[in-house]
């Protein structure tokens, strides 16, 4: 197992990774080498979405991305979404809508919802369900999560109308 030296830019900060083995997943590098524990691992097969992060504005399952291949790219994890104690609108809506139970799927879902709402400002319920179908939640049955997404969608439209008027 050769240790490789490489640098990852995560949430705007450069992290030198010196103890990773070649081929180690981005999820494991983020968690075990860099110490960012917000991204979760639940299947290591890209089935559950708990490990979702943004790599150069593309939502990926970090368990399926090789850590060393993510050099020279902007990686955003759940820790980079908003400062601690100042949740984003999506994060706050998850709490307010009852979209959080055990919370293990939540960081990945928050990443996926931010990505969804950036690409589609007014998703229908079916679109929300289709877009988020790569993120498994075992606690909620998804209803309150859909509600949280719709709340943010409405709220953002209200904000943009205020800005334009």
């Amino acid at each position: 197992m050769n240790n490789e030296l490489f640098t990852l830019r995560v949430n705007g900060i450069d992290y030198e990774v010196s103890d990773s083995w070649l081929g180690e997943s981005l999820l494991d590098v983020l968690r075990d080498r860099i110490g960012l524990m917000g991204s979760k691992g639940a299947c290591t097969q890209g089935e559950c979405g708990s490990c979702s992060v943004m790599v150069d504005d593309v939502l990926v399952c970090s368990c399926l991305v090789m850590g060393a291949s993510a050099i020279d790219q902007n990686i955003i994890t759940i820790e980079g979404v908003a400062p601690v104690g100042t949740p984003s609108d999506v994060q706050q809506a998850f709490v307010d809508a009852g979209a959080v139970q055990c919370g293990f799927c939540t960081p990945g879902l928050v990443m996926a919802v931010h990505d969804l709402l950036k690409r589609r400002g007014r998703p229908t319920e079916t679109e929300i369900r289709e877009e988020l179908a790569g993120n498994v939640c075992r606690c909620t049955g998804y209803g309150r999560i859909v509600d949280a997404v719709e709340r943010v969608s409405v709220q953002r439209r209200g904000n943009s109308q205020e800005e334009s008027s």
Binding site: K40, Q45, E79, V95, V100, G103, V110, E125, G141, V146
Partner: protein, 769 residues
């Protein structure tokens, strides 16, 4: 029901409100520490060697090559267990490590600790175990047949229990019969098993941080296996990523502690998904035969049943699952006569134990399928036959036990029926070009279904669930309330697994004591047991304990205020955030009244005693009951066997919804698991070997599989519940399963196809072949 009347108008954060979870912000921001996120400087990584065979004799274990790997610090086997060699929730029949025989694929044989996880895995590969393979026992009926080899010293029969009630030979004009099968479901919590053990200096004790459902039960079982007293094992709840029953049994607890104590260093263990499928118990597969007798009007006369639960290799909670199943055989319906025979048996399958619904799920699929057959035979609509037989308070179970709780079965059915049916046609509202939205068709984006071939069906399911533990078990709960300077600090060992007990604990304290600020102390074994987070019991039991502790503190507060003002304490009450004199003008804020006081009260809450069942299955064995109705609407492609669940409607008997948003969350989440069992989820074992122990092959409901859920809460506060509130966690996943299957049968019937669909999960081949 005493707290509620104190609240005239709803104050924020009190009972009946839906305040935010106290851990919500840290969970959405990724800062919440799950047990798999815990680490320590210099900690070692543990890993478990497991049997590849369902049944084999261990000839030898050669550790020598593992010890030669640089970075390997320990290799342990059964020889290294200093205390009791076995553990188990009800009977201690499961080895910490198999020493002579392995009885299921995945049974632990050895464990290692190494400097990093990869080295630990290589060490496992280097351990050479020589096995002498035996022919596995895989058929439960064979297991209990006379003369078969016993695969465990305790025998192949874990428990047999009969129920004979009234006139078991009674019959009626209508008789329907069927045999039903339920597959093995996995709890599939997302947060995998993980723990970290810190040995005490001198390594004579250990502190274990872990995800579990029942800290004190784990403590006792771990201490016994370590050969130390309970106080040498302290447990702290790490963040729990879901549970659903799978964390009630021991998995990695003893192994982690053994390694840490042996090495005098912290040791971390964490399962992969594949290992998790092997490392925890599952929902019992069951085969259930039932024969229902009714009069011509459809009124139940007699229920006969035979249950066989496959417990897998070790007993776990199989005997309690069996009793739940057989005592719920009649469902939420009055029935004067019955005869039930139930077996929980041992095989070389994966061990089975607790999963949400715990025996009631299996029974419900059978009795609800039967109720539909009965409705057909009597020419009644599904909801008509259910209303006609609906259980009421005072009706008795086949055990002779009267149901003394609120029993709004008829209301559940009628309120469910009152919820609107979907107004969209098959395929949803047509898109701009007139085509259907494929995402709303069975098969989804695969575009495999053609709208013209799809039929829509409606099905019903209604269920009963016992709350709390049964058969004389005193599953009490303990809570401590400290009040000082207007701030309440609560301490309890109640496992928060995601359900939201920590939210309602604060609500109860705010309501009873008139405070705004509630601090939650660490959840650990530093206070008395809370019992398990299972059996839909924590709202009732730990809610009752928190309520009682807060009331005791309130008495002390009233005494102190009384002394200061020369007023009899009985005259005081809490009004909002004030202490008021009900016979005078005094009104002072609780913050002022409690300034400088240090009030601390610890209270145990016990439910009334229950009884064992006698030989004929008679006895008041259960504590309390809750009810629910489900109506499912499905679209089915009969040719391809594809199903899309379009809507679930439900009305649930919740007593008093302490936190309505949390209740809805439990209902929707439970229904998702019921839907999963109906059409998706099953652990497949072939010749005793699990074939789909991963999330690619074990299918969990996604956003697209789950339909909208329409919910009505039936709020009739239960006079026996400390807060009027019934547990709400399990009922949603019990009758949602048969409702979905009934809807599929209904759809097929409309297409002119009669299919029994007597097995869950329903597979495409069951529909189209």
């Amino acid at each position: 029901m005493s707290v509620v009347e104190d609240t005239q108008t709803l104050r924020a954060g009190t009972i009946g409100d839906s305040p935010a979870r106290p851990d919500g912000i840290s969970k959405v921001q990724g800062g919440y520490a799950f047990s798999s996120d815990l680490s320590a400087d210099g900690c070692l990584f543990g890993a478990t060697l497991r049997s590849p065979y369902p049944y084999a004799r261990i000839v030898s274990i050669d550790q020598s090559a593992a010890w030669k790997i640089s970075g390997v610090e320990a290799v342990i086997t059964a020889d290294d267990v200093p205390g009791q060699l076995t553990y188990g929730l009800i009977s201690q029949d499961q080895p910490v490590f198999a020493s002579d025989v392995v009885r299921y694929v995945g049974e632990p044989v050895a464990a290692v600790a190494a400097l990093d996880p990869e080295t630990a895995r290589r060490a496992l590969d280097a351990i050479v175990v020589e096995y002498d393979e035996r022919s596995p026992l895989l058929d439960p009926e064979t297991a209990i047949a006379e003369g078969h080899e016993l695969i465990h010293p305790d025998g192949n029969l874990i428990r047999h229990q009969r129920i004979v009630h009234g006139n078991p030979d009674a019959s009626g004009a209508v008789v329907v019969e069927g045999t039903y099968e339920i597959g093995m479901q996995d709890q599939a919590f997302l947060g995998l098993e993980a723990a970290i053990a810190y040995p005490d200096p001198g390594a004579d004790g250990v502190e274990l941080h872990l995800a579990t459902q029942w800290l004190h039960e784990d403590q006792g079982q771990i201490a016994a296996c370590l050969g130390v007293s309970d106080d040498k094992v302290r447990l702290v709840l790490g963040g729990v990523g879901g549970a659903f029953g799978a964390r009630e049994d021991i998995s990695l607890q003893v192994h982690t502690c053994l390694l840490a104590l042996r090495l005098g260093r912290p040791v971390r263990m964490a399962y992969s998904r594949a290992e998790s499928f092997l490392g925890h118990v599952h929902r019992h597969p069951a085969t259930i035969w039932m024969r229902h007798h009714a009069d011509a009007a459809g009124t139940l006369v007699n229920v006969e049943a035979r249950f066989v639960f496959d417990g897998g290799a070790y007993a776990s909670t199989s005997s309690a699952v069996l009793v739940n199943g057989i005592t719920m055989a009649q469902g939420p319906y009055a029935c004067p006569n019955g005869q039930v025979d139930g077996y929980a048996v041992r095989t070389n399958h994966l061990p089975c134990g607790a999963m949400r619904g715990f025996g009631a799920v299996q029974a419900c699929f059978a009795y609800e399928s039967q109720m539909d057959k009965l409705a057909d035979a009597c020419g009644l609509e599904p909801q008509e036959i259910r209303v006609r037989n609906a259980m009421r308070t005072g009706d008795t179970l086949l055990t002779g036990q009267p149901v003394m709780n609120v029993a709004p079965v008829e209301e559940c059915i009628r309120e469910t029926a009152a919820l609107p049916l979907p107004d969209e046609p098959v395929g949803g509202a047509p898109l701009g070009d007139g085509s259907p939205n494929v995402m709303k068709l069975p098969g989804g984006a695969g575009r495999t279904a053609d709208t013209r071939d799809i039929v829509r069906g409606i099905g019903w399911g209604v269920s009963i669930k016992n709350l709390m533990y049964s058969e004389t078990f005193d599953d009490y709960s303990t809570a401590r309330c400290r009040l000082t300077d207007g701030v309440v600090t609560l301490k309890f060992a109640t496992a928060e697994v995601g359900q939201g007990f920590i939210t309602i604990a604060g609500q109860i304290a705010r309501t009873v004591l008139g405070v705004d600020e509630v601090v939650l102390d660490q959840i650990d074994t530093g206070v008395g047991s809370a019992g398990s987070t299972s059996a839909s019991r924590q709202t009732w039991m730990s809610g009752g304990a928190v309520d009682a502790a807060c009331r005791a503190a309130r008495e002390r507060l009233f005494e102190a205020v009384g002394r200061s003002y020369g007023i009899e304490p009985v005259r005081f009450m809490i009004d909002g955030t004030d202490v008021i004199d009900t016979a005078g003008d005094l009104r002072i804020p609780v913050s002022e009244a409690s300034a400088g006081l240090e009030i601390e009260e610890t209270v145990e809450y016990h439910h009334p005693e229950t009884e064992d069942l006698d030989e004929l299955g008679q006895g008041n064995c259960h504590t309390a009951f809750a009810f629910v109705a489900h109506r499912a609407v499905v679209d089915v492609d009969p040719e391809l066997g594809l199903v899309k669940v379009i809507q679930i409607a439900t009305a649930q008997d919740v007593g008093n919804a302490l936190n309505p948003l949390s209740v809805v969350g439990q209902i929707e989440g439970g229904i998702a698991q019921g839907l999963g069992l109906a059409v998706m989820e099953e652990i497949i074992q072939i010749d005793g070997v699990i074939r789909n122990g991963n999330f690619t092959d074990y299918l969990l409901p996604t956003f697209l599989d789950m339909p909208p859920v329409l919910t009505t809460l039936i709020e009739q506060p239960d006079p026996h519940a400390p807060l009027g509130a019934k547990g709400v966690g399990e009922p949603p996943c019990i009758s949602s399963t048969p409702a979905v299957v009934a809807a599929i049968r209904d759809a097929l019937r409309q297409a002119g196809i009669e299919k029994p669909l007597n097995r869950v999960p329903v597979r495409p081949a069951d529909i189209c072949l």
